[in-house]
Amino acid sequence: MKTLKWFIGAVVLTVIIGLILFKPLPFLFYKELPYLGLVGRAIYIIILSCALCLYRIWKGPTGADRIVAIDMLGIMIVGLCAILTVSTGRSWYIDIGIAWALQSFISTLALSKYLEGRGFDE
């Protein structure tokens, strides 16, 4: 069983490193800035981090682990919106980032009050 887990992890890491090295994402429209191929490759690293967070949401022993992972996922999606703003040159992605940060903060507070086991009024 442990060998199978190590094998799956090695395959996933090899695929992501190969994608980063050989196949940057093709939507690079903002021609005025140099070095944009590197920014397009950065999205794969964010996807790897989100996969680690999803593993913790799937496997977390208590509810608090899942809430921590959901909070991390919300903050990282703001970073993903920033990278998309640079790499595509469309400035409305950062508006999505600001709105996502707001609702992620509110939902984290509500989930932690639910975890505490008391009413929302106190």
Binding site: L48, V68, V78, G79, A101, L109, S112
Partner: protein, 111 residues
């Protein structure tokens, strides 16, 4: 020149994100995971946003990125503190190797 400095900031932020999520998977306890994940991922995302501000300059998107940095720095510690307090009050056990629990001692001293 600005785009090179912005790329350095974005790379540092990505490294912080990956290491924070690695800590989220590998550490043994809710409180340890919170300590690793919250600080690393918040700083990494703020670094990515600042690199993006350096790359696009003083246009609307850059100003919005600075606003987003300010908002994240203000709200992320509040959310982390709320999660830790809720988990401790809900009775989530500490890890066996933990040495001190000041919050429990404080509540017992009050009662």
């Amino acid at each position: 020149m600005n785009s090179i400095i912005g790329l350095v900031f974005i790379s540092v932020g990505l490294a912080f994100d990956v290491f924070g999520c690695l800590g989220l998977v590998r550490l043994p306890d809710v409180y340890n995971r919170l300590q690793a994940a919250t600080k690393c991922v918040t700083l990494g995302t703020c670094s990515i946003l600042f690199g993006m501000f350096l790359m696009v300059g003083f246009v609307g998107a850059g100003i919005k990125a600075l606003l987003c940095i300010l908002f994240l720095i203000l709200t992320s510690p509040v959310a982390a503190h709320a999660i830790a307090r809720g988990a401790h009050r809900a009775g989530v056990k500490l890890w066996d190797g933990s040495v001190v629990d000041k919050y429990k001692e404080d509540k017992e001293g009050e009662a």
